[in-house]
Subunit: 294 residues, 2 copies
C-alpha cells in the first residue's frame, strides 16, 4: 500500500469505526442482540466499502459527517450479508477474519436476527440524516435497496448458490459478481457522488470505475483462494478448488485470471481519467485492490 493511501486510511478509519459502533450502541434494543450485531461489526475487515464512500467524498473536498454515516451503513449491510452467508444453512463457515463467526458465538437464531436487524437499521439511519435534504436521503435509500436486495447483492448470492451446482460460462460468472459483490461496491462509490453533488458526467465515470473495481476485487479474491494461505486470508484457503466452484482461474487458468484482473484495473484507471479532479486516492485504491494479499 502506498503512503498516500495509508495516510488516507489512517486519517479516516478511526472516525468511521467510531460512527459505525456508536450508531448501533445508541439504539434501544435487547443487550444480547446489540452484542451480537457489534461482535461482527467489530470483527475487523478491510472496510473497503466505507473507505470508497470516503475516498469519493474526499475527491470532491466534501468533509461532511454524512460520508462517515453512509460509510457505516454500507459496512452494516456488508456485515449482515456475511453473518447470513456464514450460517450453517448457507456457506457453513466457522471462521471469518481469523475469528469465530457470529453463529458460532451467539447461535444460529440470534445470528439470523442480528443480520436482519443490521439490514433494517441501515435504512433507518439513512432516513434520519437530518443534515442532507429528504430528496437526497430518498435517492440513497432507493439506491441501497436496489444494490443490496433481490436486484443486487441478495440476487447475486442466489445466482452464486445456483452456480455451485454446475460450471458457469464467463458471462454468467461475471453476472454473479456484478450482483453479489459489485452492486454494493457500486453503491459505496455512487453514494459518495450523490453526497458530493457530482455532475452526471462525474457520476457516470465513477460508476464505470466501480464496475471494473468490483470485478477486479472478485478476480483477486478468486486468485488469493489459490495462491494465498489460510493464515494470510483469515479464512480457509483452497475452498473454491476443493468444491469445484466456478471461478475466474477455473474458467481462464490462473494466468488468464491475472490478465483479466489487469484489464479491469486499466479500465478503472481510464474511467478516472474522465474526471477533472485529483483522483490519486481512487487510483491507489484500485492498485491496492489488485495487489492485496488478503
Amino acid at each position: 500500500m502506498t503512503t498516500t493511501l495509508k495516510q488516507f486510511i489512517n486519517d479516516n478509519l478511526p472516525k468511521l469505526e467510531e460512527e459505525l459502533y456508536s450508531l448501533v450502541e445508541n439504539i434501544k434494543a435487547p443487550s444480547q442482540l446489540k452484542e451480537s450485531m457489534l461482535y461482527s461489526l467489530k470483527a475487523g475487515g478491510k472496510r473497503v466499502r466505507p473507505l470508497f464512500v470516503l475516498a469519493v467524498c474526499n475527491m470532491f473536498h466534501n468533509n461532511q459527517k454524512e460520508a462517515y454515516t453512509v460509510g457505516a451503513v454500507v459496512e452494516m449491510i456488508h456485515t449482515y450479508s456475511l453473518i447470513h452467508d456464514d450460517l450453517p444453512s448457507m456457506d457453513n463457515d466457522d471462521m471469518r477474519r481469523g475469528k469465530p463467526t457470529n453463529h458460532v458465538i451467539y447461535g444460529d437464531a440470534l445470528a439470523t436476527l442480528a443480520g436482519d436487524a443490521l439490514n433494517t437499521l441501515s435504512f433507518g439511519i439513512l432516513a434520519r440524516m437530518e443534515n442532507i435534504t429528504p430528496e437526497k436521503r430518498i435517492e440513497l435509500i432507493n439506491l441501497l435497496s436496489v444494490a443490496a436486495g433481490a436486484e443486487g447483492m441478495v440476487g447475486g448470492q442466489v445466482l452464486d448458490m445456483d452456480g455451485e451446482k454446475r460450471t458457469l460460462s464467463l458471462p454468467e460468472l461475471e453476472n454473479v459478481h456484478v450482483n453479489k459483490t459489485g452492486a454494493l461496491l457500486r453503491f459505496s462509490i455512487e453514494s459518495g457522488a450523490v453526497l458530493s453533488d457530482a455532475t452526471m458526467e462525474e457520476r457516470f465515470a465513477l460508476v464505470e470505475y466501480a464496475h471494473h473495481i468490483g470485478l477486479a476485487f472478485q478476480i483477486q479474491d478468486d486468485i488469493l483462494d489459490i495462491v494465498g494461505t489460510t493464515e494470510e486470508l483469515g479464512k480457509t484457503a483452497g475452498k473454491d478448488v476443493e468444491s469445484h466452484k466456478s471461478t475466474y482461474p477455473a474458467l481462464l487458468t490462473l494466468e488468464g485470471a491475472k490478465q483479466k484482473l489487469e484489464e479491469h484495473y486499466q479500465f478503472a484507471i481510464a474511467a478516472l481519467g474522465k474526471i477533472d479532479k485529483n483522483t490519486i486516492i481512487l487510483q491507489e485504491f484500485a492498485q491496492y485492490i489488485v495487489k492485496r494479499h488478503n
Copy 2:
C-alpha cells in the same frame, strides 16, 4: 365478522393483493428467488396489517393508491419475519396457514435470502412512492425501520426467545408483545395517519388504539393456542402449553386472559372515541380481533 367489515375487506383485498404481487413480480431478480418470495406472500393469511393501513386511510376518505403500496410493504415485512421465524434454527415450523413453510419447499438457504430480499425491498418501495412528498416517504421509512428492527419486531423476537428459557412476569411478557407483534401493527395504523395527513391528536389516538389492539391480538393468539384446533388455526395448536411458554393464559389463567383481552378491547374502542370521524370499520376490526377463531 360483521357485514360492514366483510364488505370493506371484499372491496379492498383484491386490490391490495394485486399490488403486493405485482411489486415483487416487477423486480429484475433470479426466478427461483422471486418464486420463493411470492410463495410466502401468496400463502394467504388474514392480511390484518395492510387492512389496518387501508381502514385508517378509509376513515380519512383517503383513496390514494399509496395506501395499498404501504399495505403491501407491511405485509412484506410481516412475511419476511414469518419465513425467518419458521426456519429450523428458529421455531422450526414445517406448516404455516395449512401449507408447507418456505424452507420446506425452497431449502433453508433460499428461504433465508427470500426473507432478506423482502426486508430490503420494502424500503426501496417506500422510497419510490413518487406521488407523495420525499418528507413523507422519509417519515414512513424511519417509522418502519424502528418498528421492524432491533428496536421493534426483531428486538421482540430476541426477547421472546430469551423468555422461552424462563417464566416471564406480566410486564416482561407485555414488553415482548409490544415489540414482537405490536410495533408492526402500530406502524400499519400510524402509516395510515401519515398518509392521510392526520392531526397530531388523531395520530395519538390511533397509536393508543394500535397499542391495545396489538396486545389484544396477541392475547387472543395465546387463547386460541389453547381453545383452537390445529385445523382451525392452520398451525399446530397446543404448542405453547407443550413448550411451557410464558403466555397470558399461563400467567393469568384462561379466564384471566379473557378478561385482559376484554379490557384492551375496551381501551381500543375508547381511544377511537377521541377521533371526530366515522370510526366504524376500526371498531369492527377491534371486535373481529378479539372474536376471531384463527
